[in-house]
Symmetry: C2
Subunit: 326 residues, 2 copies
């Protein structure tokens, strides 16, 4: 299975390294909006093309992985490139998924391709857990917690504050809230009760630290509704301890069964990820395998993780899966 | 969707109560090998039939849930009743799944029905977690732990020991083993290092307690390879504290990503269940919904949880799922 990568940022690099862990896949090419000469792939010998030549690459690619951002790239790219390829993206603006789905579905069907949108871990694996949980325990409640991990959006926000040279923000689930859910107490939790936010800031020389802290803690939407801690550190400490992009989180489904609803059940799914983009890439590749198979079966249109029978994700045959995994 | 139940034990009763939690389902009838008059369903007005009349019930049932045991009932029943109905079972003898699958698949295809075998939580939800985990982290390791919960087979074994009036056995995962896995240490664990076993025994009057304890702890296959604790208690204490059938467990997938495999990831799925048969029943019903849909689409043959796209489990439409769950 020949995989193409569009966009060679953190996610594209994650896909590149994950392909090496899947024996049935090969990296066909990298496609970029930048000057192809400016890109040096980690994989020796792999070709880099300009996005302007993308239409010519149809024979080289079974599935194209779109590694752009959800704000402006993917709403354009996914429908556009579903004309030429089976495509998969990690579109994560939850509120706009129905619209994105409709746009991609139309083009994919018209052109006989399979597309899969919103793949990764949330949306993605966490969505699957919400769906399985709600289906098997119809009388119950969902909880999703994120972290401990780096929020890219919040890190960007603190770096825009005056006097901030560098910064990183960690989202942290509140331990007491996790415990209450785990015990099946079905707590009603406010935003503040679910997560705290911790910021590590490298200030510019002579910056007003008190003002930076105040600006961050009162920032609407991003921080005002949370208990936020701000730490000022040196660039050296930043480089030593905050270079990674870890993330993770928890999905719970709690519910009751029995004639008198007398029995409680708690389902908990959690991820602890050293590298958010690499794990996302790994999930994407398993679903890329699935849509390649669906395409070979003659299926077309837009799919999500909900539409994929799990057996399609694995390189093993049905016989092997039943013998080893069931 | 009209659901029939064959076998009115713990599992059948669990299915009966779970149907009430699913608005799109109704309990059509209960079928039994006993005298139908000996059964009093919890649901008023529901009809009870003898298994001898089962062929006449085809119009009354969309999916028949087989609630027999894996040792002798299901290997006969599932292929037999796949002649007349869409059927679902909880066959859990892992080693015999390929053979059972082949038997059921042949009959289901010949008769245009959909069957789903080995549904519940292990096999079932845990199998799904092993498959998703291995697919998204191909370089890694699986761990499955069971408990804390009641093992029916081990409880049966201790009740057969001379001098034992009543008994229950709990399987308990070893906390240190869980912690080592959770930290991504990839431990190699022996049987003894993974689980302990705890027995609560009501002895017969005048029984030789030391001999009972010795017999249990040295019982081959069941206890000899484990650290086992035996407690002697009164029937009153047994009734007060050990009447339930709780269970649960953990599935982990740990793995690495990155060009130099420098990033670790830990996926953990756990269940804490007050009632093993009721949770199993709830899982079965969501998959019963799925096979009813597949049947309406004209599909036939034997399936497992691996073959079911998650969207089929939910009463929600694709649009709703994408808007609310993704």
């Amino acid at each position: 299975m020949k995989v193409g990568i569009l966009g060679y940022g953190n996610l594209g690099k994650g896909v590149e390294s994950a392909i090496r862990q899947n024996d049935d896949m090969e990296l066909s090419c990298i496609i970029t909006r930048r000057d192809p000469k400016s890109i040096t792939p980690a994989t020796e010998g792999v070709e880099v093309y300009s996005v302007e030549d993308i239409e010519k690459l149809q024979d080289k690619i079974d599935v194209l992985v779109l590694c752009g951002g959800s704000a402006t790239d993917l709403p354009e790219q996914t429908p556009e490139y579903a004309k030429y390829f089976n495509v998969i993206d990690s579109f994560d603006t939850h509120a706009r998924i129905p619209e994105h789905f409709a746009n991609v579905d139309r083009v994919a069907k018209e052109n006989g391709h399979v597309a899969l949108i919103s793949c990764g871990w949330d949306p993605g694996m966490f969505s699957l857990m919400r769906l399985y949980g709600a289906s098997v325990l119809p009388e119950g409640q969902d909880y999703t917690f994120w972290g401990k991990g780096v929020s890219q959006g919040h890190s960007d926000a603190i770096r825009r504050v005056e006097g901030v040279k560098n910064g990183k923000q960690y989202t942290i689930p509140v331990e007491e809230a996790l415990e209450a859910v785990r015990k099946g107490e079905n707590p009603q939790l406010t935003t503040r009760q679910k997560h705290t936010r911790e910021c590590f800031i490298v200030p510019e020389e002579g910056a007003d630290l008190a003002k930076i802290e105040e600006t961050i803690k009162t920032m609407p939407n991003y921080f005002a509704d949370y208990d936020t801690t701000v730490h000022f550190i040196s660039q050296e400490e930043f480089d030593a301890n905050h270079a990674g992009i870890p993330h993770g989180g928890f999905v719970f489904r709690t519910g009751v069964t029995g004639l008198n609803k007398e029995h409680k059940h708690v389902i908990e799914y959690s991820l602890k990820l050293d590298s958010n983009p690499e794990f996302t890439s790994s999930v994407i590749l398993s679903f890329a395998r699935a849509i390649n198979r669906l395409s070979e079966e003659g299926v077309s249109g837009c799919k999500t993780v909900f539409d994929i029978a799990p057996a399609y994700l694995s390189p093993m045959s049905g016989d092997e899966l039943r013998a080893k995994m069931l």
